[in-house]
Amino acid sequence: MRLSIYRFNPDIDKDPYMQDFEIDVLPEDHMLLDLLLRLKVQDETLTMRKSCREGVCGSDAMNINGKNGLACITKISSLGDSIVLRPLPGLPVIRDLVVDMTQFFKNYHSVKPYLINHDPVPEKERLQSPEQRAELDGLYECILCGACTTSCPSFWWNPDKFVGPAGLLQSYRFIADSRDQALQERLDDFEDPYRLYRCHNIMNCVDVCPKGLSPSKAIGKIKELKLKRM
């Protein structure tokens, strides 16, 4: 198998470059991450993030043959006979496949991603019907991998002004929660032409999300609520 991998080490490289590797796929290699780990044994300077190796922690999002995804749950057999790996687009590269996600998290934090409820705390749980709880499915499962936001041209052009699909999905996760009381405040946060309205339904986010979530649908719902309020 041939892999072509984006390399950049600011300690020594002036410019990034693509490096080619040849490696045999062994029977125990199932996922792209398995291959990368064996490559790292050969060349320990090859740098990426990794942790859970099962698609739940969001560490190893990267651009795989032109499409963002998680190395740990991308099957080698789905990739053809050559693999091109680049860091997530639209964020500064720290080293090789590791990007600086500060802006991504800043945008996430900006939507107040926590439950806001001003009532006195009850003794037991707040009640929520299974139907109300079902409204959160497809929203709360986000692993903050950044695959969606960094595949979105609106984010590339306005990373500090447009919240991006991941942040907006989480905004809607709280809007949709029957226990949250900050609907108006949350909608007020999207008055300007950028934070929400830079989304032009390009839909890359839906295409790449490794958890099968649809930020686009959530964004549509927020827009609907805004319209209703007008």
């Binding site: 080490n9 926590y114 037991k124």
Partner: protein, 583 residues
Amino acid sequence: MGINTITYDAVVVGGGGAGLRAALALSDAGLKVAVISKVFPTRSHTVAAQGGIAASLGNAGEDNWLWHMYDTIKGSDYLGDQDAIEYMCKNAAAAVYELEHFGMPFDRMADGKIYQRPFGGMTQHFGKSTISRTCAAADRTGHAMLHTLYQRNIANNTHFLIEWFALDLIRDEEGDVVGLIVMEIETGEISVLNSKTTMLATGGAGRIFQASTNAFINTGDGLGMVSRANIPLEDMEFWQFHPTGVAGAGVLISEGVRGEGGYLVNSLGERFMQRYAPNAMDLASRDVVSRAIATEIKEGRGVGKNADTVLLKLDHLGEDVIKSKLPGIREIAKNFANIDPIKDPIPVVPTCHYMMGGIPTNIHGQVVDNAKNRVVNGLYAVGECACVSVHGANRLGSNSLLDLMVFGRAAGDHMADYSKKLTHAKPLPVNHAEQTMTRLFRLENGSGESVSEVGDSMRRIMQAHCGVFRFPELLDKGAKEIKELAIRENHIRIKDKNKIFNTARIEALELDNLIEVAKATMLSAQAREESRGAHCREDFPERNDETWLKHTLFYSEGNVLDYKPVVTKPLSVETFPLKARVY
């Protein structure tokens, strides 16, 4: 030496469930706190917890925290400390309600209350019948919990140092902990955090074994740090092998699958658990189920090419239940076993999962460093890295997330009070960074084996010599090999000498910690001549309360073993007396 020093009231090492819960207590108290984590907090291993968190809410049948306490003591094979267990079970409901109030998206019952499912070893009326006690958010409970705690910390404005790696503790002449030495991964710069109090919440170390459900980052860093600071590790021979890791991949299939009605079968299609645990069957304690599977395989009733797995059958639960209650499991089975569990059973094997032992603490989370429970001022430990000991010789599923919440809060509160009493952090001793700098310098000049060579040897030794069943000759050989390996490890080399985001260096530093954990495990296991909970000796098949109802303490320096008594007196209720353990 000109190392940058930053001063804090409190520093928490670890952004998993335990660290994040403690951080809330500390930021609520208005202190200058930093939470340092080697990965972004929601990438911590808590995110992978599937099945749920135990609490006797009684939403799905009558329940009582005393029953939960009994189950936990029995599950621990009587090695758990009854004061700590009482504290945890009594405070469980409050911990779960608190998570709900924080916004955690628990599944719900028809009446709007939190959904609870059955889990192994959890019963009503002191063992009479099974109870649904485990509170769940589908099969993504850890994810839901960790994200909720992180979100709460955003609301609280907690100060995080993300992708910073803790290297060593700093103890002064009096033995008090006065801070830490850390490395910012992105820049490779070393700093000193001088703090009134320090908490270790660094999680597990399951990566000492070849087959593990644990994430790559579970390298026992906190355990390595205390070992180098001459603090012992407690009960390290007790490792939980989860009955159902995906064969070959190690990825976990939650006990929640059996809780929802799934069961195990051997090559004859027989539901073999009925022979090993006639009452609880597939929901017996994990050590019992893992030994049953290992026995089936040993006696030739395994499945697969090498007859080395058994099958977990759940297709009979129906598509609806699988899709609504076990969606993550279905994803895992499809990804890692190439199987859709709606149609086919999943091949599974017992897989290293959880470390019952750890850094010894009292019920306030304060670290204690000898058999008399002498407190190390300024140092706390909570979560999987700690041994308070609520899990004893075998943890019940869904009691760990509970442990994080209850003791994260208790330790955070204690730490806040203690920090407030001090006007400033104690001064750093002279040469406080020397040991660490030597360790780092060694890596620049090492000429021995690579990190992966030594790491592979360690994992092979542990897997072959210290698994589900433990044989005397294998333990003796393993002990010898691991001691030799610890010496070889001193000479490892890395080729990557760059400063910026050097993961090769981080992996070498993690290996220092893994080796400490592996050594403590092997030598503690070699010494314990009985079978209790997860520690099963071929040559001593019975539990021996007369000699061995005691906690192991292992000191790395000189490989010294010591023991301390089990606390059999609870805080307010009567002692649960010793009994034979049958399910």
